[in-house]
């Protein structure tokens, strides 16, 4: 994959001082290597060719400072050796020192899909190399402008319907491309939507992604961060489609308009209750088959709410306008079979109605997003950010099966 020359950030960004550690990593790596001379191979001299190739890739980049560290990866700022102004993010996946558990499913999934998917709205994987201490390093596109979550939360930033349309458009194209290639993202939320120097929104974190299962094969329902999780997953559906991501997109859309997360459940049950309160109670009438889902809970007979119509969406989201409200409604339909697909979302009339989406270079932006990129790229899929105010809401996902 060719490395596109990246636009250098304004100078003040480059000196974000977060204990800038100069990379002594290389020397320690060498030390480790000496004690551990790849015992798996009988003789190492035969590996020259591939090792040389790997070294070539490794030497293409220089690691600068550390941007963030999470449980499963460390992210460094880096640049091309030949061009100090072309930045990249190097995500070093921590391989358990003793290889006790093999490589985590998250890492495998991320590499697997980013290697194949290339689209303007999906974070680009420029290169992969292994370092001497046998860590996997992903060289990712440098996205210095933070993520959508930052923009939503920053009260100093003002944005309007045209900006929301631009961001949603980029998100929808990225998601459509994934689905078109038979990949479910399964963790769409504002802090996985990073922003490039030119304002382009990029879908990141493929740690929970998977390809569509063959018909009748089960998948896990324990995916997607709770507030963005669709009702069918909360009810434990094991067979689902791309519209799970469309629901998450709808939640992002609502959050962009309201500037707070729309449906904030404290537990999975609470999340279901709040979805019912907002959109209506799922019944066999409005969602045939719902009562047969594994974790379906019958609603209180005295407390069934009718499914909300267009009026509700217009009232709740006046900034979206009638056409936008209609699109949002189609993305938040309870019955997954009736919910819009990513393709139908893109065909909606909202995109061509007034106002026109803002040109990406004129979109509101943050300038100190680079640290956020570090945090975003090191988080584990499905987790809430540790430093958000909603810390107590974070739940531990149990991936005993899915994550091996």
């Amino acid at each position: 994959m060719a490395v596109s020359p990246l636009i250098p950030p304004p100078p003040h960004e480059a000196k974000v001082t977060d204990t800038p550690k100069k990379t002594e990593v290389n020397s320690t790596e060498r030390l480790l290597h000496n004690q551990n001379t790849i015992p798996f191979f009988h003789s190492t001299n035969e590996r020259e060719v591939t090792e040389q190739l790997n070294d070539d890739v490794r030497h293409k980049y220089i690691k600068d400072k550390r941007l963030g560290e999470g449980t499963y990866a460390v992210v460094f700022l880096g640049h091309l050796r030949t061009d100090p102004s072309s930045f990249v993010a190097i995500k070093k996946i921590k391989v358990n020192a003793e290889y006790k558990d093999g490589l985590s499913m998250d890492a495998i999934r991320e590499v697997k899909y980013l290697q194949e998917l290339s689209h303007p709205n999906i974070i680009a994987l420029h290169d992969v190399f292994s370092s001497k201490d046998q860590n996997l390093n992903l060289v990712l596109e440098y996205l210095p402008r933070g993520d959508l979550e930052m923009l939503i939360k920053d009260t100093d930033i003002h944005y309007g319907a045209a900006d929301v349309k631009a961001w949603m458009g980029m998100l929808a194209r990225g998601v459509w491309f994934c689905h078109e290639n038979f990949v479910l993202h399964r963790d769409i939320k504002p802090n996985n939507l990073l922003i490039a120097a030119d304002g382009e929104v990029k879908l990141a974190d493929f740690g929970l992604a998977r390809s569509f299962a063959d018909p009748y094969l089960n998948m896990t329902h324990q995916v997607i961060t709770r507030w963005y999780r669709p009702p069918e997953l909360l009810f434990g559906a094991r067979q689902y489609s791309g519209v799970v991501d469309v629901w998450s997109m709808g939640m992002v859309f609502a959050e962009l308009l309201l500037r707070v997360p729309f449906i904030v459940g404290n537990t999975d049950l609470d999340q279901i209750a709040k979805i019912c309160e907002a959109f209506g109670t799922p019944t066999e009438d409005n969602w045939p088959g719902v009562t047969r889902l594994p974790n379906y809970l019958p609603a209180d007979a005295n407390h069934t709410l009718p499914v909300q119509g267009r009026d509700f969406f217009l009232r709740q989201f006046p900034t979206a306008g009638p056409v936008g409200a209609d699109l949002l409604m189609s993305m938040c339909t309870l019955d997954p079979k009736k919910r819009s697909t990513a393709c139908q979302v893109l065909q909606h009339g909202w995109w061509s109605s007034e106002p026109k989406p803002t040109d990406k270079k004129n979109l509101p932006r943050k300038t100190d997003g680079i640290k956020k990129m570090g945090a975003d790229l090191t988080r584990r899929g499905g987790d809430f950010d540790d430093n958000t105010t909603f810390k107590n809401a974070a739940r531990q996902l149990k991936f005993t099966v899915a994550r091996d």
Binding site: F41, G102, V128
Partner: protein, 301 residues
């Protein structure tokens, strides 16, 4: 299967020409002539038969999907285009390919379980220490430049079934032909849809008797030859009624499909020669040669 084959890393980086493959293998031989003369190994295809049978044994113990086994076989092939087999412990490579393929095909198995089962099969070649497998997994991923998605012909087969109104017998037969093609270099040489079409032709046109398929494949080669001759005879028989309508339909479809017929024919020939060489296969022989190589060179340590 995920993503688009035409833009895939498989198409861009893991398709070779026959010449290129031969060149790679020759360069391994050149580099370490001593090892090659000291440790002669059976024909690549016979080794593949051995590995695949070992993999199936391993997969059976853990009830794994066919797709994961297929992916594992492709991983082993890709790995040995970068590494000389005589410098590795093939049992460990096969086990690791299996472990990684299970994760890739979304049917993950725990590393301890895999090591445990592999040790049950080959106690003298697999160390109890799981870190060996973890380490080898890492090499495998690096050697394959972390390009891990493999596109298989099975999906094309299912897609073409209604289009060509294939009977369930024909599908089953084509399916096992696809299983067999992993024993050859074909997965490194041709795109999956070409393989699938080849499998369909073999199943529909040659119709080798089902019984001959498993275990000894020897009669199959003969059946294919005879079947082929019959078809040729029918085709050249200007006065007769020509080939059966069913085959005519397939031929018409092929003509319209713009598929690379030459490639399909080459695949068929590769398969025929596989079935021919299969007659020489001896599990014991492969096991002995590999065992001697691994033990003498201490590759299992």
């Amino acid at each position: 299967m995920a993503a688009n084959y035409w833009a895939s890393t498989q198409r861009r980086h893991w398709l070779f020409t026959r010449e290129k493959l031969a060149e790679i293998r020759e360069s391994f031989r050149e580099k370490d002539k001593a090892a090659h003369s000291q440790f002669p190994l059976p024909d690549q295809r016979l080794l593949n038969i051995y590995f695949s049978q070992q993999l199936i044994k391993l997969g059976k113990r853990m009830s794994t999907r066919q797709q994961a086994l297929a992916t594992a076989q492709v991983y082993v092939k890709r790995f040995y285009t970068k590494n000389e087999i005589r410098h590795t412990n093939p049992y460990l490579v096969v086990t690791t390919a299996f472990y990684l393929a299970c994760k890739m095909e979304e049917c993950p198995q725990h590393i301890r379980f895999v090591v445990g089962e592999a040790r049950g099969l080959w106690p003298e070649f697999i160390a109890p220490d799981v870190s060996k497998l973890g380490e080898c997994e890492f090499s495998l991923i690096s050697e394959m430049s972390s390009q891990l998605i493999v596109h298989h012909p099975y999906r094309t087969l299912s897609e073409l079934q209604p289009e060509l109104s294939l009977t369930s017998d024909e599908v089953a037969l084509a399916w096992s032909v696809i299983n067999d093609h992993y024993l050859t270099d074909l997965p490194l040489l041709y795109p999956p849809h070409v393989i699938a079409v080849m499998a369909i032709i073999v199943a529909v046109v040659f119709k080798p008797s089902q019984t001959s398929f498993h275990g000894s494949a020897a009669p199959l080669a003969g059946a294919m030859r005879d079947g082929g001759l019959n078809i040729l005879a029918a085709l050249s028989d200007k006065n007769g009624s020509g080939p059966p309508a069913r085959i005519q339909r397939l031929v018409a479809w092929l003509a319209e499909s713009e598929i690379d017929i030459t490639a399909v024919i080459e695949c068929t020939q590769e398969l025929v020669s596989l079935y021919e060489i299969w007659e020489q296969y001896s599990e014991k022989h492969c096991k002995e040669l590999l065992g001697r190589m691994v033990k003498t060179k201490n590759l299992d340590k």
